[in-house]
Amino acid sequence: MGTENKELKEWYKDQFVKFEKRLNGHSKSFMQKYRVESLKKFDEFELPNMKNEEWKYTNVRPIFKHNFRPAVLAEKVEVTRQLVDKKLYKQFDCNVMVFVNGQFEPAFSKLDCLPEGVLVDSLEKVLHIIPELVENKITKLSATENSFNALNGAFALDGAFIYVPAGKIVEKPIQVLFLGGSKTDDVLIQPRNLIIAEESAQVSVIANYQPIDSDKYFTNIITEVYAGKNSIIDLYKIQNEGSESYHVEKMDVHQDETSVFSHYSLSFGGSIVRNDVNSTLDGEHIECNLFGLYLGNNDQHVDNHTFIDHAKPNCVSNELYKGILDGKSRGVFNGKVMVREDAQKTLAYQSNKTVLLSDHSRIDTKPQLEIFADDVKCSHGATVGHLDDQAYFYIRSRGVPSDIAKSMLIRAFVSDVFEKIKITELRDQINRLIFEHLQRVEI
């Protein structure tokens, strides 16, 4: 492992030299300093391994066995409008941003109905024109804690930048499509997304991760979210990468008083998928909702880590993650709720439920409560089981064949997460994905 790591680190350091040349200039910018620091950390960090509690159930060695080429250094991949259209979620009106291998494609994007003052653009461009808007947020929200974060930081260049000034309401959701993969290289795609909602602003974002084709690639994302006082943010993530791909995202959310942040994490495709969602509730009367659905099939590995940090009193957090695992897939859930000393009158609910559909599927779940304040109501629960035999018989006794009966029970199982999705037009499309992914009859 030792020499392997060294070689890998050398590879990325080498890529960094090439990357720096491409950036020409800006060497004194805060962003460049941040990149250099991140690279240094990447060099120092031990690669995540299963001895580390945070990676206990997820072996990421397959990811580090490859020398992925940062997409910006690889041959540019052209996509067609037809492909873009095929990959977008439809039937509802929305703004559209398209990224191909991490780089913004304005030609495919549609951002013409935004309220005045709202800025939705490529991070790279914003860094050029209004760097201060980025500077006071970007490195403050997310700490560099492991090799993945450091790697993203070292090559951080582009991503979705969404800024909603105080009092503005973006009525139509912003759908951000990230297409990945290349015929010529195993590419490393590292979007750096930043979403800022100032006081009383509202915005709804759909992050849509999909493959261009069936190539192997690695998406390593950092998403930072700032929810200002009284703001409302809905953030959907529909992760459906190619079956050969790796996907790692760390999302850090900072919430100010009376803000409401809701995250809907829907995981489908990918060989190894790891999602970290961390939210700091740094003010009173905040609401934080984390909903998740993870579907595993074949040899997939899906790992969801969440951390809700109740730092101040009178906040509410609500977490519900549900998973269905078929084939030889493995699921991991690690959800931590921290209630700090000052956070009296906290209400925190957490629930994780998993259904195993096959003899070879497996789940490791670890819900955690860490409570340092006494006047709180916190609960968590986790269940693992199979589809209900009684209900299965009941449905069949009404003449419904066994495969549809199973689909009904799957649908019933996911329904409570499903119904949380506010964009109702999205539900049917998600429903299709669920059954497609499990290779079962859709109902």
Binding site: S397, G399, P401, I404, A412, D416
Partner: protein
């Protein structure tokens, strides 16, 4: 329509049915009575094909076919309907999706067209009315959050919607207040016709005041020990089961 011959069944290795013989023809309503643990519910579940019950001997011919060979769903498609004693809650699946799927599957099996949404809604409205059920129930999840009475009514609604050849009512009267019992009975009486049969499993005579059976059978220790007409039920009501347990056995 159905012939049950020398039916034996076990649950978890325990013998429950010890040679049941029963024949039900179209247009007949049979009541099966008996004390707790006599095997009434087991009989209903075995006929519907519940996997927890193992048939160790005997045969059941339904519409000329070997019933015991069929999967639960095929039994349903052949026209067998079980109204569960404890209807299952399926949160997240609406009654309408559930029932339409069931109707379409049964129709497909018979080589018929699927029911149109319009016809389906009209049908459910009509049937729900008989049972004095609220229209909102169509969009509610199957039995989820229903009271005991509502669940039983929902079972009868499903029966009316699926229109089976043979309905097995497993203690459908238990836990019902008198008003609900009247409504449920009305549903069954609307259903009964020259083209179908009903087997009612019950513990009490009360139900039989509202749904008058053609035959009454007493089940005890997994066998039918006495058969008669509706007067047998009255006799049981008066004397209890003990006189039968101790007295001479008359087989059906």
């Amino acid at each position: 329509m159905i012939q049950i011959k020398n039916l034996h069944a076990t649950v978890d290795g325990k013998k429950i049915l010890n040679g049941i013989n029963l024949e039900v023809n179209k247009g007949e309503v049979h009541a099966i009575m008996g004390p707790n643990g006599s095997g009434k519910s087991t009989l209903a579940n075995v006929l519907a094909g519940h996997e927890g019950y193992e048939v160790t001997d005997g045969e059941v011919i339904f519409n000329g076919k070997d019933l015991l060979e069929m999967s639960p769903e095929d039994r349903a498609r052949e026209g067998m309907f079980l109204a569960f004693q404890y209807p299952i809650e399926i949160p997240g699946i609406s009654n309408s999706v559930f029932l339409k799927t069931a109707i379409d599957e049964i129709r497909k099996y018979k080589g018929e067209e699927e029911i149109s949404a319009k016809d389906f809604l009209a049908l459910i409205k009509e049937k729900a009315k008989i049972l004095e059920m609220d229209n909102s129930l169509v969009s509610r999840s199957v039995n989820s959050g229903f009271s005991g009475g509502e669940k039983k009514r929902n079972e009868i609604l499903q029966m009316l919607m699926l229109n089976p050849a043979l309905a097995l009512l497993d203690e459908t009267d238990s836990g019902l207040d008198i008003d609900a019992l009247k409504i449920v009975s009305k549903g069954v009486n609307v259903f009964r016709s020259e083209n179908n049969g009903v087997i009612m499993v019950t513990h009490y005579q009360r139900l039989l005041d509202y749904i008058v059976p053609d035959f009454v059978h007493v089940l005890y220790k997994g066998q039918i020990i006495k058969s008669g007409d509706k007067n047998l039920a009255l006799e049981l009501e008066e004397k209890g089961y003990d006189w039968l347990k101790n007295g001479e056995l008359e087989t059906a």
